[in-house]
Symmetry: C2
Subunit: 370 residues, 2 copies
């Protein structure tokens, strides 16, 4: 981060053998017809977007990549539409657009669009290629890497899905200019997460550069996104289908999912719930004697500096309810909640060995603040 270069493009290779692919990060990629042309064949492309993002960027993508605008589907915006009914809309539109096995799906939008477009790519005629254009910070640092695709079931998030890697990811940081502040900060929660679980140096950088990041400084953004994606890529490369170490990426998520579920996914954005979940996980680490009070305090300050909520929504009134919801999390093995905790800042591990009393105490303490 020596000198500012507004036109710089960073490239990161996600190493997954035959399924390796590049991530490009920079300003104005959606206007870079030369670069896009290397990965997108206009004749075979089909765009999946949503009603918020399409009016902002679909025309630009169509123009840059020379696409047929009729070969696209625009979905309703929101997590509540991340379901099988929306998948059917995608399939109907793809069949109407005469998509075949040679089709490449272009996912233009946030995480919900990416998850559904990716799942459609995994399933359409048993698998076609897809390329991602994530337009939210959360999607850029989370969904760009990992190949997780899918939809929700009324009784559980991401219950139905597939592992399907993209052919390439284009992160145009210009798209963040139109992102609401609250959504932007929710994305920063996931950025911070990478520091906590694996990269203490990055954590330090975040302490020093949070103001630049909040101001959406292009260079700071490019660095933060690059480092986040690299961190996730390293974890995923070790464990592509989530059998072991990959679970550290869920730091803060078991708490966060329980909060989201307790509030019917309406009070907090996912990233906000993760931010709060990380705070609770860090607090639990402190209570277990894994990290000291100073490390906890500086971590709490970082989460607060990012403008993320640090109190439970007032509708959460029971620690026992949170505990029960945590036990319904997908990561549960034989009834025992396994938690991602930190040995120290920058070093996560997964464990089912902890004190239930301490966990209940922790949950009650957050409920009592409400």
């Amino acid at each position: 981060m020596s000198s500012a270069d507004a036109n710089a493009i960073s490239r990161l290779e996600v190493e997954l053998g035959a399924r390796s692919y590049p991530i490009y990060i920079g300003r104005g990629l959606l206007a870079d017809s030369e670069l896009l042309g290397k990965y997108v064949d206009a004749a075979s492309a089909f765009v999946v977007s949503n009603e918020t993002v399409a009016p902002l960027y679909l025309d630009q993508l169509v123009k840059t990549a020379g696409l047929d605008p009729a070969r696209s589907v625009v979905l309703a915006d929101g997590e509540q539409y991340k379901n099988i009914a929306s998948m059917q809309k995608i399939f109907d539109a793809m069949i109407a657009g005469q998509c075949d096995r040679g089709t490449t799906i272009l996912a233009l939008g946030g995480g919900v669009v990416g998850d559904m477009a990716g799942f459609a790519a995994a399933c359409y005629q048993r698998g076609v290629r897809f390329v991602q254009f994530p337009t939210t910070l959360l999607a850029q640092v989370d969904s760009s890497v990992g190949g997780k695709t899918g939809v929700n079931h009324p009784l559980g998030k991401n219950m139905i899905g597939a592992f399907h890697q993209p052919g390439a990811v284009f992160i145009d940081t210009n798209t963040l200019d139109t992102l609401a502040d609250r959504e932007y900060r929710a994305g920063i929660a996931e950025v911070i997460k990478y520091g906590f679980i694996r990269d203490r140096e990055f954590l330090q950088w975040l302490h020093e550069n949070m103001a630049r990041l909040l101001a959406r400084d292009p260079d700071a953004l490019r660095h933060a996104i690059m480092r986040s994606c690299a961190c996730k890529a390293a974890v995923v490369a070790d464990d592509e289908t989530e059998n072991g170490v990959r679970a550290i990426l869920n730091f803060g998520h078991t708490f966060g999912h329980a909060i989201e579920s307790a509030t019917a996914y309406s009070a907090l954005l996912h990233g906000e719930a993760v931010g709060l979940g990380m705070l609770m996980a860090l607090d639990f680490c402190k209570r277990c004697g894994l990290i000291d009070a100073h490390d906890f305090e500086s971590s709490r300050q970082l989460i607060e500096a990012a403008g993320l909520p640090v109190l439970l929504p007032h509708t959460v009134s029971s620690g026992k309810q949170l505990l029960r919801l945590m036990q319904h999390d997908k990561k549960v093995k034989r009834g025992r909640v396994r938690l991602v905790l930190l040995k120290s800042l920058g070093e996560a591990f997964i464990t089912g060995e902890y004190s239930d009393e301490l966990l209940e105490e922790l949950l009650e303490s957050y409920v009592s603040q409400v």
Copy 2:
């Protein structure tokens, strides 16, 4: 096939690296608790079956494997239910049954049940294990090998799906005792197919043993199923995700799908359409000078000996319509129908180079017989 042994069990290993699995073929496997116990963990199993097969065999499977009968879903029977709505029923029942990532889905039924249960296994929490108990001859020789799973879209068969290999396949030939004669013969069409595309010796065996096979002689059945699965396994091992040579398995299918589509899937069973499609493909090979009149005639006799229809349903009145439907087949690359033809009996190849006039002539000649 030296001497009859009613209790013999054949085992075939489908070699797919880390995804290799065994196929067991024999009488009474559904009662073999020792063998099933090696592959099915009672506590984690969930059964998918249909309303025709469940009353016949579900109790037996539950008893043999010590399953919880509540952890099952029984779907409506028929290709018309092979759709996303049925998938949702499976997912709902799995969630109600508290299935997790450690669940193994047991598919008990014909090809439709296997395709949907396998697709559910591919998608549930992004992938769980599944074990197949195919109960129709068609499913035993076709769906047992290949890992193709999926459902239909109103505008196309198998448009939505995944490649997902089973953990094991148990073919209890006793289940064929309850199979309707017409369905049984439709399965024989796929058995014959393997002879045509890859195994002239097996073709000779079929000529000599068709009467035993039609009488459902256990030894003849075990041999025919084993040889069919081995043939398919060899092709699939060369091309797991269907990029090339695997397409020879579609011998007769491009014609067959067009016939099914022209008759709204109501006049012929899939196997019957494939039998008729193979006859048309063989006829086309003769017209192209690939096989001689004698080979065509003996092939035709074999198809007739199996009791399969050799005339188009009378509702098919236009060769042009069939041609158009063939062009909508999934295997079309850039508008040109690629056909699976035979260089000689027992040796298939794929080509887009043939005379359109001859093809139209062929189609018209079958329509004119109606």
